[in-house]
């Protein structure tokens, strides 16, 4: 089986396989739907292992016309193309790994909830959309998978179906949808200018400068999806969803789609004129700083973690927008480091919420005595996000900051360091308020073995990704080499509007 067919399986198994889940629920196999979802997502993940060798050693494999939907109609063609490069392999591997762990955790977490088949159906569809987006070469299909993920997100945020929750789900959907529509308009402008939707191939958009209006429209879509200030407010509100979902949104899929889209479209595709980068840096820095301040003020654990995500996504954008080797590598590694750690934190929040029946940190305290494993996982993941060695977050954050200096942005680099201090402050504060000191609530208990097992795996992976940085580093480094080969830096920094 060639690599392209291999990738088709990675996309098709969760995407089409998800349709089997409601069917299984209808025919009376409701309690097995979770296992089916785990099997589908885990299979997709295991298949990504088969791409690693190619990602590490080979040149990108791509076929922009893998499936043709419309060929030479009025001079236009729409193809579903596939592209396998180090960036895509890295993203698919990381996202499917975290999603698999979240699905396993869900087996215990969601078993007493209603609408279980629907939950697993949408989660699996969500993962399938992510896989499709990661390997797509065409802007049209990127948009298609983008919107499937938005729909899935909307349904999952409103999972508990109380009016307030539905309002928050609508908010998330409408904000990201509005952004996506603007992005679609941006794609249209790009197509009008260059006559192509393809990011790879002979007539692709690679290396072509993008106009200001198209850039602004596409960035609106990216910022809304990745919850970047000022289009971020839906993400803290999405904390009303089950913790598994918030974990999926923050750690594995949704916000990472925006980052990946940015990296794919503008660092491995179209070229942003030099003078526009400062705006992107500005938004990223504002996002990192403002949301870090908000996190410091929060007392709701899930909202605090959500603001932290907005802040760390801003950090990752900083790395990408530095347009430098270390910045790019740091940003890619940070996607993984943040995914693992934030996944762990949200799942810990799930255990805490199960045990205490509250999200209000001021009503917690002293939980380390009742939940020692959760506490250790929480502090490990929190310190990784805060950027302390030898955890994965330290290296990634350090590379991002180094990249900012390498890209001649010392002021932004300094601000990034100040924001890192804020991150340490709010992360540590949350750990202290929740786990240390005197207990301020009723009796609590540790999570189920499955739930605790999954968070332990995430904490171990956070540590392992720091100590064994070599493996993710190699992929990220290769991704950077491929980026530099595709869009040489000379083009990126010399292009003027």
């Amino acid at each position: 089986m060639d690599y392209l067919s291999h990738v088709m399986w990675i996309i098709a198994i969760p995407l089409l396989g998800s349709l089997l889940i409601p069917v299984l629920g209808w025919i009376g196999g409701k309690k097995y739907t979770g296992w089916l979802a785990v099997a589908l997502i885990a299979t997709a993940h295991i298949l990504t292992w088969g791409l690693i060798h190619q990602g590490l050693t080979g040149e990108p494999v791509s076929d922009p016309t893998f499936i043709t939907f419309m060929d030479s109609w009025k001079g236009c063609a729409i193809h579903f193309g596939l592209n396998i490069d180090a960036l895509a392999v890295f993203m698919s591997f990381t996202a499917s790994l975290i999603a698999t762990l979240i699905a396993i955790y869900s087996l215990s977490y969601i078993e007493h909830e209603e609408h279980e088949p629907e939950y697993y159906f949408i989660v699996t569809l969500f993962v399938g959309a992510m896989m499709g987006l990661v390997f797509s070469t065409s802007l049209i299909f990127i948009y298609l998978f983008w919107e499937i993920s938005a729909l899935a997100c909307w349904r999952l945020i409103g999972y508990f179906r109380e009016p307030e929750y539905i309002w928050k789900a609508d908010k998330a959907f409408l904000l990201t949808f509005a952004g996506a529509v603007l992005m679609l308009l941006g794609f249209g402008l790009v197509f009008a200018q260059y006559g192509s939707f393809d990011l790879v191939g002979p007539d692709s958009l690679a290396g072509k400068p993008i106009g200001a209006v198209a850039l602004a429209l596409i960035m609106a879509g990216i910022f809304s999806k990745s919850a970047t200030v000022p289009l971020h407010t839906w993400l803290p509100d999405a904390g009303v969803a089950p913790s598994t979902i918030t974990s999926l949104l923050h750690a594995a899929i949704l916000v990472k789609i925006g980052l990946y889209g940015f990296a794919r479209m503008f660092l491995n595709g179209m070229v942003i004129p030099q003078s526009y980068w400062v705006w992107i840096l500005g938004f990223a820095m504002a996002s990192a700083f403002i949301s870090a301040c908000a996190a410091l003020m929060e007392t709701n654990i899930k909202r605090l973690l959500a603001y932290s995500t907005v802040s760390q996504i801003g950090y990752t954008f900083l790395g990408l927008a530095a347009v430098s080797k270390w910045g790019y590598i740091g940003a890619i590694l940070y996607i993984m480091a943040h995914g693992l750690a934030k996944g762990g934190l949200f799942l810990c929040a799930g255990i805490i919420e199960h045990g205490t029946h509250t999200k209000d940190m001021t009503k917690m305290g002293g939980l380390i005595k009742k939940m020692p494993i959760t506490a250790i996982v929480y502090v490990t993941c929190a310190l990784s996000i805060a950027g302390l060695p030898p955890l994965a977050g330290f290296f990634a954050k350090d590379f991002v900051i180094t990249g900012l200096f390498e890209g001649h942005h010392p002021l932004v680099g300094t601000m990034a360091i100040l924001t890192a201090i804020l991150t340490l402050l709010y992360m540590l504060k949350s750990f202290h308020v929740i786990f240390l000191g005197q207990s301020r609530g009723e009796a609590h208990h540790e999570g189920s073995p499955v739930m605790v097992g999954v968070v332990v795996v995430l904490a171990v992976l956070t540590l392992a990704a720091g100590l064994g940085l070599q493996f993710p580093w190699n992929l990220a480094h290769k991704a950077n080499e491929q980026r530099e080969a595709l869009v040489p830096k000379t083009i990126q920094i010399s292009t003027q509007p």
Partner: protein, 611 residues
């Protein structure tokens, strides 16, 4: 075995033992202590059998092509490692019995070993980034060790980690700027010697790295966690880390910054002098009236950082020797004093000066150890303290910093007065009848360190060659530096005389010893100052937190919430407008939602057609 791995043994053995072996013994405090001792001994033996025997005890392994893991164990590293080994062995012996008194023994032992490994890593590192990693491990261990003190230690632990973390981030920033200025060089052994006066960037890099390293050593304004940790941490934790190891590491790095990385300009020296003088007085003034024995010792340890920074700032060989000797002597006598304090606290059931003065057990060996350490603390001949102070004064004279000398000299006088007050408190307890002491595990570290403090001058003199190589100076210069200079000898003599005079003049002969200097609390100026200090008005951490919270509050309510309100308003308006259309689509049937996607595709098709 790979040379780098071999050189990493002093780092790896304790960390692995802490992470892998101790979890199996978590329920047995006594076993934890024994394994801790065995681990330290094994580390020492492995170091002497392994890396030290390498033909070239230096190795570099490229890691990810990003930076080199450069480790070295030349005799200058061995010199510092020797001190660390000594402290750790004695600390482990102390713990053999004391471990049962620690509220969280497992946490304590695991992170005690991690701190030990991290400290060895910092000493062995030849690369700034590797050094930083070792340091941050040390910091995390410090945080955990504070928490091992039991309930109520959480705010202190948080303060420790936040201040340490903040200073680390400053150091990272300084290192990044340094890397930029030194054209990508992060290797300490490269001796880049960037002139701090060559550019604003170089000066900024120096100041940031200086603050980061100074914070480790307990320099103002990052010092405020130390007195609180002295109260909160278990005694062996404080004696081995903030009082000795962390100071050794901080000042060692400061020394390398001043000696290996930068050539100091006058402005850079002035910055160092200012911080040095403030550090001395910010610690010693509260020490005069402090009523907790351990906190007084903590204040003394902070003020000593000021002396060391002043010595390094002279940029003269003799001044730097003074700083390094001050560091090693100080670490020794301060550790001895802390162990004594722990013993006295145990005997008196409290660590206040009143309790210790009124205790029933004399603890003769503990008191003897304390008094031996005191000889170095007040810098009597022939202790290392004397040589250190002598060299420091010489350095200040040689560099013509007479104004700075005056402040340092006055600070030294206050130091002597405070130490004499502690001695008086301890000796007052001598009147009681019970002459018993604690067990040998408690006494041995105090006595050994006390003797080491007394003999410090000889020990340092025997290692003159090491100092010579450390400083890159001729050993004759070092010998000359230690020859008695009349002016500085008179100055040193003056410190003893005025220090003793200050103590005896202000002592209340009819009142308890602990009340000496307490009239200062009643004075209008100082009294108010003490009140404000107790309210933490001058605490950089508390002030910083208030500022950060104020900024965060403003940003949250005036920007973030505003954006949320605008977003909500837009969405509500949009929903109201589109409600009729949406409600027909929003039926709960999945296929309807797919229509959204098809709408998007239709839009694209329309664009294609228009083209």
């Amino acid at each position: 075995m790979n040379d780098t791995l071999l050189l990493a043994l002093p780092f790896a053995i304790p960390v692995l033992a802490g992470a892998i072996v101790l979890p199996f013994l978590r329920k047995n405090a006594q076993a934890l202590a024994w394994v801790g001792l065995l681990t330290v001994v094994a580390t020492v033996i492995a170091t002497f059998l392994g890396p030290i025997k390498l033909e070239t005890p230096e190795a570099t392994t490229s890691w990810l092509g990003l930076f080199n893991i450069s480790l070295a164990l030349w005799d200058k590293q061995m010199f510092f490692l020797g001190f660390i080994f000594l402290f750790q062995i004695l600390n482990s012996i102390y713990l053999l019995r004391h471990i049962t008194r620690i509220p969280r023994p497992y946490l304590f032992m695991v992170f005690s070993l991690v701190a030990f490994g991290g400290a060895c890593g910092v000493i062995l590192a030849q690369n700034l980034l590797v050094m930083l990693i070792g340091w941050q491990m040390f910091l995390i261990a410090l945080y955990a060790l504070v928490l091992s003190g039991g309930d109520g230690t959480e705010p202190v632990a948080m303060k420790t980690l936040i201040l340490g973390g903040a200073s680390d981030f400053l150091m990272i920033l300084g290192m990044l700027i340094y890397e930029h200025v030194a054209s990508g060089e992060l290797d300490i052994s490269a001796h880049s010697h960037i002139a701090t006066g060559s550019s604003f960037a170089a000066f900024t890099a120096f100041v940031l790295m200086f603050l980061g390293a100074g914070a480790k050593a307990g320099m103002w304004p990052f010092q405020t966690w130390i007195p609180e940790a002295a109260e909160a941490m278990p005694t062996p934790g404080f004696a081995s880390l903030p009082a000795s190891l962390s100071k050794i590491l901080g000042v060692y790095f400061l020394f390398r910054i001043c000696n290996d990385l930068f050539a100091l300009s006058t402005a850079a020296k002035m910055v160092m002098f200012v911080f040095a003088i403030i550090t001395i007085f910010a610690a010693i003034i509260p020490a005069l009236v402090e009523r907790n024995f351990k906190r007084v010792l903590a204040f003394i340890t902070i003020s000593s950082t000021g002396f060391m920074v002043a010595g390094l700032a002279t940029s003269t060989v003799v001044g730097m020797i003074g700083a390094l000797m001050f560091l090693l002597t100080h670490a020794t006598y301060m550790a001895a004093m802390f162990y004594s304090a722990g013993n006295l606290e145990q005997a008196a059931n409290g660590s206040t000066l009143e309790a210790i003065e009124g205790r029933k057990d004399i603890l003769p060996y503990t008191v003897l150890g304390f008094l031996l350490a005191l000889t170095a603390a007040v810098a009597l001949l022939p202790t290392g303290g004397f040589l250190a102070r002598q060299s420091l004064f010489d350095g200040l004279f040689e560099s013509h910093n007479y104004f700075v000398f005056f402040f340092v000299w006055v600070g030294a006088i206050f130091n002597v007065a405070v130490v004499l007050k502690l001695a008086a408190v301890i000796l007052a307890g001598w009147k009681s009848k019970n002459k018993a002491d604690l067990g040998w595990t408690y006494v041995l570290p105090v006595i050994v360190l006390g003797i080491a403090a007394l003999m410090g001058g000889f020990i340092l003199d025997m290692n003159r060659d090491v100092l010579h190589r450390l400083l890159g100076a001729n050993s004759d210069v070092i010998r000359d530096a230690w020859s008695l200079n009349k002016v500085s000898f008179v100055a040193s003599f003056g410190v003893w005389v005025f220090g003793a005079a200050l103590f005896f003049a202000l002592r209340n002969p009819k009142g308890p010893e602990w009340s000496t200097f307490h009239f200062l609390r009643e004075s209008k100026v100082l009294g108010r100052g003490y009140e404000l200090a107790e309210e933490k008005t001058f605490d950089a951490y508390e002030v910083g937190l208030k500022v950060i919270h104020w900024i965060a509050n403003q940003v949250f309510w005036h920007f973030e919430r505003l954006m949320d309100r605008v977003a909500d308003w837009c969405i509500r308006a949009g929903r109201n407008i589109s409600r009729p259309a949406l409600s027909s689509v929003h039926t709960g049937v999945y296929s309807n939602y797919l229509a959204w996607v098809i709408t998007g595709l239709a839009l694209v098709s329309a664009l294609v057609l228009l083209r």
